[in-house]
Symmetry: C2
Subunit: 136 residues, 2 copies
DNA sequence: CTTGACTCTCGACTTAACTCAAGGGTGTAG
DNA sequence: CTACACCCTTGAGTTAAGTCGAGAGTCAAG
């Protein structure tokens, strides 16, 4: 039974966001409503830090907060099947996304080598052939 | 020598954006400044459509317009080496991104199977164990 | 030579996801 | 008891990437 109640500033620094963001996430229902002390201070459990990291990670991958809310269902009254179905759908979407990323990576790699060859041949003043310059 | 001059509406429908967006991209220098007719209408070549599709594709993968501008260098006066270096850097970033996507996919997949098992066991009223509910 | 569809600019509005400022309470150390 | 670092709410501001409206010009068809 370690000391497991943190205040908002500790949550913020622990998870790499600002206190404003933590409050914002609570308002947006991405985090459960934190209980309060008699003085009105929010009280958090340490796992809130992990929750925020999860949110940030998903966000970094292009999920909107609205979508993340779906992945996270703070409400608790949601039925398990709904969450499960949403997760399955997200998995499919991610597979597509990964595929697209790889394809785009190949596109960029091709641009890179065209660009590189041109540079090797004509030096720094080369007329860059990438994309919009490709249009000859 | 096919007919190769389109007006903004054709570009827009051809690339799946609005005319406002095309003008916006021109203002933001994501597209070269289109020449005008005597009447002031912009004149585009059909490859503008491909250029816009490229932009949209990159954007869909999480690049900001500012980053895409870097990949695209409408200016023409840029040195080839700079573009090449930027491309190389972007390739590295994309590799990281793809790696992260795969890791997150695994996270979601784990959530999915936990969720699914719970559902199989306790039916639709199951207490969903995913993430924020994991904190039993 | 008048429709009607299309285009032009300019400036204001929108949405997402914060971010900040003002004005005021809380809590603990000295 | 008084600093001082925290915390609170409310409401306004910010940035990115469009989106919309007003008012006006262009151009092919009839």
């Amino acid at each position: 039974m370690g000391n497991s109640s943190l205040q908002i500033g500790e949550i913020a620094t622990g998870s790499g966001v600002t206190v404003d963001t933590v409050r914002y996430y609570e308002r947006q229902k991405l985090l459960p409503k934190a209980p309060r002390t008699s003085g009105g201070y929010r009280v958090f459990s340490p796992k809130t830090i992990e929750q925020i990291k999860f949110i940030k990670q998903a966000q970094d991958l292009g999920f909107s907060l609205e979508e993340i809310k779906g992945l996270v269902r703070t409400g608790g009254s949601e039925e398990c099947r709904q969450v499960r179905d949403l997760l399955r759908q997200k998995l499919v979407e991610m597979d597509e996304q990964i595929k697209k990323m790889k394809a785009f990576r190949r596109t960029l790699a091709r641009h890179y080598s065209v660009c590189n060859e041109e540079y090797e041949k004509n030096g720094p003043k080369a007329h860059c052939p990438v994309l919009f310059e490709i249009e000859k």
